[in-house]
Symmetry: C2
Amino acid sequence: MGIAEEMGKQQRAISVSEFFEKNRHLLGYDNKAKAMLIIVKEAVDNGLDACEEAGILPEMYVGIKQLAEEKFQITVKDNGPGIIKEQVPKIYGSLLYGSKFHRLKQSRGQQGLGISCAVLYSQLTTGSATTVRTSTGNGKTHMYQLRIDVGKNKPIVMETSVDENDELWHGTEVTFVSEVTYRENKQSVLEYIKQTAISNPYADIVFDSPNGRVEFKRGVGRLPPEPKEILPHLEGVELGVLMRMLESTKARTLHSFLTTEFSRLGKHSANEILLKAGITREMNGQNIPDTKLKPGKVSDEMARMIVEAVKHVRLLRPPTDCLSPLGMQLIESGLLKELNPDFVSSVTRPPEVYRGWPFQIEAGLAFGGSIQSFSLLRFANRVPLLYQGGACAMTKAVQETDWRRYSIDVNRHSVEEPLVVFVHISSVWVPFTSESKEAIANYDVIIREIKLALQECARKLSIWLSGKRKKALLSKKKSVFERYAAETAHALSIITDLPEEEIERKIIDIINERWEELNGGKTDEVEGEDHETGEGSNGSAPEEGESEYSASGEKSF
Amino acid sequence: MGIAEEMGKQQRAISVSEFFEKNRHLLGYDNKAKAMLIIVKEAVDNGLDACEEAGILPEMYVGIKQLAEEKFQITVKDNGPGIIKEQVPKIYGSLLYGSKFHRLKQSRGQQGLGISCAVLYSQLTTGSATTVRTSTGNGKTHMYQLRIDVGKNKPIVMETSVDENDELWHGTEVTFVSEVTYRENKQSVLEYIKQTAISNPYADIVFDSPNGRVEFKRGVGRLPPEPKEILPHLEGVELGVLMRMLESTKARTLHSFLTTEFSRLGKHSANEILLKAGITREMNGQNIPDTKLKPGKVSDEMARMIVEAVKHVRLLRPPTDCLSPLGMQLIESGLLKELNPDFVSSVTRPPEVYRGWPFQIEAGLAFGGSIQSFSLLRFANRVPLLYQGGACAMTKAVQETDWRRYSIDVNRHSVEEPLVVFVHISSVWVPFTSESKEAIANYDVIIREIKLALQECARKLSIWLSGKRKKALLSKKKSVFERYAAETAHALSIITDLPEEEIERKIIDIINERWEELNGGKTDEVEGEDHETGEGSNGSAPEEGESEYSASGEKSF
């Protein structure tokens, strides 16, 4: 039958560009307003990543110019280290190309897909090439105008030039022309930049929106510590990956492969794994680990036994210096700077591990002041998440928190207070639910960590709130006493025959004296301790470096 | 600064296999039970596609054998045309390879990702190679054991052999060894196969489950008409794609490019588009369409004007013979065969268009009999959809249907009747919400079509139900008359002095006579017409080929 041959003729390879062109909703390009946000986000994420990696305090510029009803020019510029000219076409002009996929290091980008998909979306919708200008600070600026050859997933350079600079700038500027729409609502570019300013308070950001310029000044003048790259942890490595690593390793023995290519795996643990996996040799009638076996001699079955053995050997947890949390000071600085609240508190939890990947949760609460109502701000590796809140572990943790225990008003599952909740996950591999990187997967350990962080912050808020509310009560009492002071003085003057004015002055003095006494902090503290005791049952230790500041900057308790 | 150079060194390409290995949740591999379902589904989908394309009545075999606690051997065999040996490694051993992505034809597979990802998942979790045996009916069986070279996205053939057959079989058998779990619940392999038997009633399916053999015999002996491949419709083509088509076209003029490479675009419409796009030349002082312009001379701006012009020119809709709906007979045959209901009705709606892609909705209702409660069965190009029902346009349409109007009991938004709703979308490009192909995107026109289909089916059910319920009422009345016949006869015999037995016999005769009269169908019909009139407001014409059968096979109205 010729049918199989005929069908064979139609079989051919599909380029990854073709795939994502047809399936661009996978990367979040569902509608034109969201497309605008994603393009800005990918470029800003890349810029911030580059600055931080080079240890440069970021200065970001975002410019959006309307060209036609649904056609905009989007420019994003950073002051990062720049890109060497050979790499520019590949980074912007082919999908699945980059430095972040093959390493384990906390960064905003992960896949090498984001920025090239923005180029792809622009050419698909407006036919326009994307312009990249970059300088590494060597006095030359390289300009490229490029498109993607979709069938081949390769860059097509339309134009290129080199300028000699007068000033020695460094950084990268990218300009897209895309079919998008601009709005300023909860899921807009403006909101994204505002939240980026909160989670990156060491960055200066200038935003030229179609409605005018908005500037976000940095609140602190130092970068958080640079995250370190780590080796994979054997617990999170699947059999197929292990087999591949064995094929390409340069280690001379299986034993040294285990101790050098994995995180926190010492000689002792390696021996134990070999023993459990039955990879042994005989010595003096005893089975000892075969430490001399060459990686090339490890059979598929042995590899399988190693993966099995790992489940029964207690390994050290992965190191956590690979994580770079913001830290409490930066969180509070960001919240104070952009939200102008009456109170902030924050907490950085100790690192934890899901599926062999380290992660760390931070939370912050901002209350009152310019804040009008409740909202949740979600962040992953310092990037704001604006979409798919409903599917996110952070939303779930907020919903599962019993806010009422912390004197926070809740009506039918929604918090009814002027409260902003900030949640941040740092990880070398953030578990997003989809490629559009909008929501965090619902791992139990992640939800638990978020809830503990929220509880710690909420406890502080509750103390501050009860102090504030007690003060309000006292203040009411005081005004009642003051109101009746004259009348009381009049009555007492009849009884005692002393002058009315003197008695009234004395009463007022007593009220004020008592008032000062009550406001000396002592009462609040007792009240506060009551609270801490009242909910010691959640099991979280208070020593995990909590801190909180009143908006005025002084420690309030 | 050396930083840019240093960073440049780390930049490299990521293979699409590496990408999906790390992001396998994008294809639905979230957990081990779902992984089992997906592997079976991808193999069965491919087998059914191959059979239908070759005009062969499908005979599918699915075998699942437990090897260890979470390790199973999964075998799927079809009697399709087989695969020529050169293509086997590419189809199974590289991602994004296939015949279905680059054409517009209704089929189960779309991307060239599914089956190779099953190979990838198997080697990742158990390290096992996948075995493929295939014959094109030429007396030879080719066997391949293969893996994927993940870094290169290329097949690695571990072993290969050729056997001379005794019998001239044709088809393909694939065997995976994967880390999965087996269960028999609502989202299981068993449920998937059962639903596949409903939507493919012309297929024989044998399933050797870990709990024993289940056989699904075909209910009809003919295939539905083969869907035709179509050209793209200009309305659905984006600028970037148009520009690429212009670059690679063999047409000699832009005008002939438009009329030969797009669906249903005649000379007249092409002229109109050129005119609107301002692609004209002067003749006798008049602007006429420039029909001689070569494709190579079409500037990007001209292409943009063409896309713009299309919005203002009325084009013929895409042809609909590219769609192969199941048809009412097959739907009802499938529902009767697998669900054994008292009543079925079905409807095939006329084709419609979303974003330039043709699609067609079919619906069926099965009521009573062996059915215990309400459920919705969702299908796309004859494939059952078991996950993400909440996100699906079909679920939304069912929820938005006012079932009460059709005498169907609803309590708090859930239907409280023994009712199975069947919904099927056929399309050359099914708009799934994600790459795991589990839910239909919420396009308005699709939801509207589903609702119209459901209303048409529900109207028929309502007539049958009211007939049935009236009959039940009459039957109750009859038994009351019968119960009192003897007593009445006794009283009348005293009055009339006639023998009691004769009177009783006459009464019974009258009851039976009247009973037969009432059950002659006349009453039902009147009742039925009342209903049809009562809801003529939904605007759907009744001539769209509705039909319904009672379970016994005869037309009931």
